[in-house]
Amino acid sequence: MNVAPKPAFVLRQRHLLGIEGLSCEEIVGLLDLAEEFVELNRQVEKKRTSLRGRTQINLFFEASTRTQSSFELAGKRLGADVMNMAVQASSIRKGETLVDTAITLNAMHPDILVVRHHASGAVRLLANKVGCSVVNAGDGAHEHPTQALLDALTMRRNKGRIEGLTVAICGDILHSRVARSNIILLNALDARVRVIGPSTLLPPGIERFGVEVFRDMREGLRNADIVMMLRLQRERMSGSYIPSTQEYFAYYGLDEKKLGYAKPDALVMHPGPMNRGVEINSTVADGTRSLIREQVEMGVAVRMAVLDSLSRNLPNA
């Protein structure tokens, strides 16, 4: 099957730094384009040529397996030369060095930089200093736009729509860029968004994000169509946000009983990597209502859609 991406779809901006700033049309356009890449990725011949001759650098200041390999595959399938740069977090000194890194890389004339950084706003800072397109692969607790897009694609394919769905995002909202990007995207597409977590893991002011806030899974999951679990980011926790992982699982971990509070056909998502037995148990994670593996598949397609549509804005495109 030969599927041609719609050539008409172009993102308005040079970079993809967040879901914030994307119009509904752009979000839907990216999802539609990604659908086509889902089909392509299931073929034997997965190669396209829209990025032929382009150089894509994956610049990861924070360790990542799935996001980095997903971006790498996406770039390669579109024909780009992809280079992975893993920058040891310990060897950089944030601000100043980040800008130096940007200037150095810029001199190598890449076309697309895919950047992940542990500090919120770092990707935007870098984008201001380079001449190429920048894709945010996650900055601190700010945004992770391709994750929200792949989540939306997964939801749309399984529920047929986003509009009107009740999506409960559960757990460590405070440290989660996935939550922030998802809240913005889902609100833009008219889903009903809820967040559920202990007060210590809910950022003050979250109730003004256009979400319903719950501290109790039983109430928060009632009539939910999608239960989106977040990873408990223990590595970002300086100090005592929760008393123990046992207590966290007892009140906020997703098991069959808590999933039973949601709609009978509710589906389970998780951006990964999972802490099994902390925020989700294996029966649910590996069960028939889990979309977790499908999310990974959608990740490659969504990133191809992002790279493909950004490439149309590149000079000489």
Binding site: R215, D216, S240, I242, P243, Q246, E247
Partner: protein
Amino acid sequence: MLSERRPILLTNARVIDPSRDLDLPADVLLADGSVREIKRGIGAGGVPEGTEVIDCTGKVVAPGLIDMRAFIGEPGAEHRETFASASHAAAAGGVTTIICQPDTHPPIDEPATVDFVLRRARDTAIVRVHPMAALTKRLEGKEMTEIGLLKAAGAVAFTDGAKSVTNANLMRRALTYARDFDALIVHHTEDPDLVADGVMNEGEFAARLGLLGIPTTAETIMLARDVRLVELAQSRYHAASLTCAESLTVLARAKEAGLAVTASASINHLTLNEMDVGWYRTFCKVSPPLRGEDDRKALVEALRTGLIDVVMSDHDPQDVETKRLPFSEAEPGAIGIETMLVAGLRLVHSGDVPLTTLLKAMSTRPAELLGLPGGTLKPGAPADVIVLDLDAPWVLDREDLKSKSKNSPFDEARLTGRVVRTIVGGRTAFEWV
């Protein structure tokens, strides 16, 4: 020994139910472990067969007391106090529910320890016992405990006992987290850096005795900090033991602002002052220290107005090894569970505090704050009831006290009024003969 549970009719009593501001002559019928009925002339209308009828002419009948702050040695310091010995002392003092503190060895900071305490008390104590659990693991002030699981196991509140949590960020998170479980945090408000090596109230008297003082500011600063944190977290907070007028100003402002802030005062700080330390009496060394007379008077006035919610014993058994020492080296702490009410009656007899107000602060308010069913004589409430003789004069001899430790600041005190009967769950647990 517990008597057999048959219905009890208390006749011709002056019945005081502070939960309803009732003070009226009536009979009280207790059956099946509950308060059945309160009205005049129940006895005349015939009572269930086998009812024990007790004439309470001239006596007061009131709800059993709930002592919101008592340190029991179990587990870890059974030589000072056990649930058994403390419960006998409690019953003799009209206390039908002990709220024990978590600074034991090991501390009560895990659900399994809560379970141990509840089972141990069930098997050995003659009054009810509910533990507070630690607010931080190992009482170290570094990580909060499993507030949800501990509450589910039976902890009625969370506190680090006689220790203050100095890390404001941890305190904020604990308050924030506790709100999700509607858990009450009880905090000893004393800045340990300002307490430093102090051993008694700072001021002229300490200076004359050559002892290092503890300023009231040590308490007020911590309370003021906590109130600000409660404002952020919007959770339930209780100051464990306030002692001075400045703290009461902070407390009053917090309450006016509508915050869920409440406070206790210990019977020691309401009835004694720094002068009672006299020539270095270590039984009057308590934490926070006994204050000046002006502060004591302010505290009594706050009790009268209801600004101070709860009066507790701060029962802290210490033995000869920890008390027969130079003042500065002795451990702080005084027993008080057995004398809390009779010492409080001094304030009633002096006309400073109405009896109903005192009883409310020792029963109704703690029940409300801790979510316990007692502290009331409403029909259906647990049959935890005391009978008081308000006027009996006597002299306290500490050797008669039922506590394992004898460190009472009221030794040889002349007292007026005493508990003549204590009923727990419809059974007589103490009777004065």
